[in-house]
Amino acid sequence: MSGAGSGERTLELLIGPQHPASGHMRLVAEVDGDVVVRLRPDIGYVHRTVEKIAETKTYLQTIPLIERPPLADTANHNLGYVMAVERLLGVEAPPRAQWLRTLLAEMNRIHSHLYGLGIHGIMLGSSTAFMWAFGDREIMIEMAKRLTGARITYSYMIPGGVRRDLPPGFAEEMEKALRYLERRLPDYDRIFFSNPVTRARLEGVGVLTREDAIRLGVVGPNLRASGVAYDVRRARPYAAYPELDFQVVTRSEGDSMARMLVRVGEIRESIRMIRQILARMPDGPILAERYAKMIPPKWRDYVRETGRIKFPAILASLRPPKGAEAVSRVEAARGEAVFYLVSDGGPRPYRMRMVTPSLRNVVLFSHLTRGCRVADIPAIYGSLDYFPPEADR
């Protein structure tokens, strides 16, 4: 703490990088008594230079790399990146692969929102919310594990398709999981969302107006909680979204409570979508013909029987045409993720630009906390569902 603020009256308060919430960033708050005059996020504690490293890896090797920053929300970023690569190469995934991608993306959205909810609970001092959300999150993780083999870092989508087909009996298990989640949501409502403490701490706190949300380029539930019905799944539908029936959840209040409730609404929508996907999943191959026919003949039977792709060697040295560029955007759990790939004809991206939702939401820290109380900082921070590694990359 020091008196280096703008005047005699203000103090500079350093919060983090070691603090009880999801850590890895520092907030430099200038406070006047209990009121925050100015807050500056000091990020970069998890800056691991993903964009630079991507230039030294092949297109396929980059997939695990871009999954690391948004660790709780890998599937959506994976999808965004793979879409960009496919646009560079001019490949398209077959319909079944598109539906499987959408399935995993929605499952990931559920457990990522529960992650955010749990962390928000901790920040508000509600251990129950943390324990419940993290416990229920495991259900979706377990289902994703059955589908992909990994708990959270799936690397499930590859250029031209997906790695695995649905395992037998998946739809029934999933139905059970979804029913359980649906039963749980009212419980959350009772113990957390309509809890007087939660409401007192969140309602009317950190209000973001519609104009500011648009001006600052905020994304995801934070944007929709301010009444802007922008969702990439609607604005520029990709994968199987054009064929799904879902609603874009919005609220008009723009406060911390609204941001949280939008996420809850999205969990409900995702549950609906998963049901539709499993009911209407088309049959067919899961890897584009162009690559499938390059699988060595001795593996073809294995692939057909197990539904697991053996990577053809071509995937290790994908070379998009020289000078090709591609932009893709997806609605990741925390908001819109944008990938911009530039190729120079070599096997490695010439430039990979990854704009994650958290990076675009950083601006909210200084904007929303102006004039709030010090005790409101965690409430606002938590409601943004901000994941520092995702922002720092």
């Binding site: 070691q18 691991r48 690391r68 992650y115 708990r151 959270i152």
Partner: protein, 174 residues
């Protein structure tokens, strides 16, 4: 310090001698065993998330895996904690903070590092902005994986407990 003791006068630093005697006693067999047994079940990691492995660390403390049954309870302040878990990559900016936090912790203290990144950089091995934790902190247990599964975290806790029990832990010797 001078102090009178039933007629005789002892000259010397009583406080220091007492501390030395206590240390001597604590290192003897029965007391030491009890102490280490106690430490074993009260490993309190400080809340210090360094990177994405934190997500799986949180899952390890959550209901399904429940690391609390090993006496492992993440806590807020470094002053009350005796275990530091490096959760993944340490960037250069974060490494500085890690050393501060470590220095604030009371002894005996232990360091575990989680994830491939915290062993030798993992997927980020050629990044220009990372530090390998073993270069700056006395790490006892490495948990491989990217991210390690919560079971692996649980297992590593048990390994650390065993090391403490057998007196092999470097944390006990500082």
């Amino acid at each position: 310090m001078v102090c009178g003791l039933s007629g005789t006068v002892l000259v010397g630093n009583l406080e220091r001698s007492a501390r030395r005697a206590a240390r001597w006693l604590v290192e003897r067999t029965p007391v030491r065993g009890i102490r280490d047994w106690g430490i074993k079940f009260s490993l309190w990691p400080v809340h210090f998330t360094t990177a994405c492995c934190g997500a799986e660390f949180a899952a390890a403390s959550a209901p399904r895996f429940d690391a609390e049954r090993f006496g492992f309870l993440p806590f807020v302040g470094p002053r009350q904690c005796n275990l530091m878990l490096i959760e993944g990559t340490l960037t250069r900016k974060m490494a500085e903070a890690a050393v501060w936090v470590y220095e604030q912790m009371p002894e005996p203290k232990f360091v575990m590092s989680m994830g491939a990144c915290a062993i030798d950089g993992g997927i980020f091995w050629n990044s220009y902005n990372i530090v390998r934790p073993k270069d700056i902190l006395p790490v006892e247990v490495f948990v491989p994986g990217c991210p390690p599964r919560p079971e692996a975290v649980a297992r590593s806790i048990i390994m650390l407990q065993k090391r403490i029990e057998r007196g092999e832990s470097v944390g006990l010797r500082v």
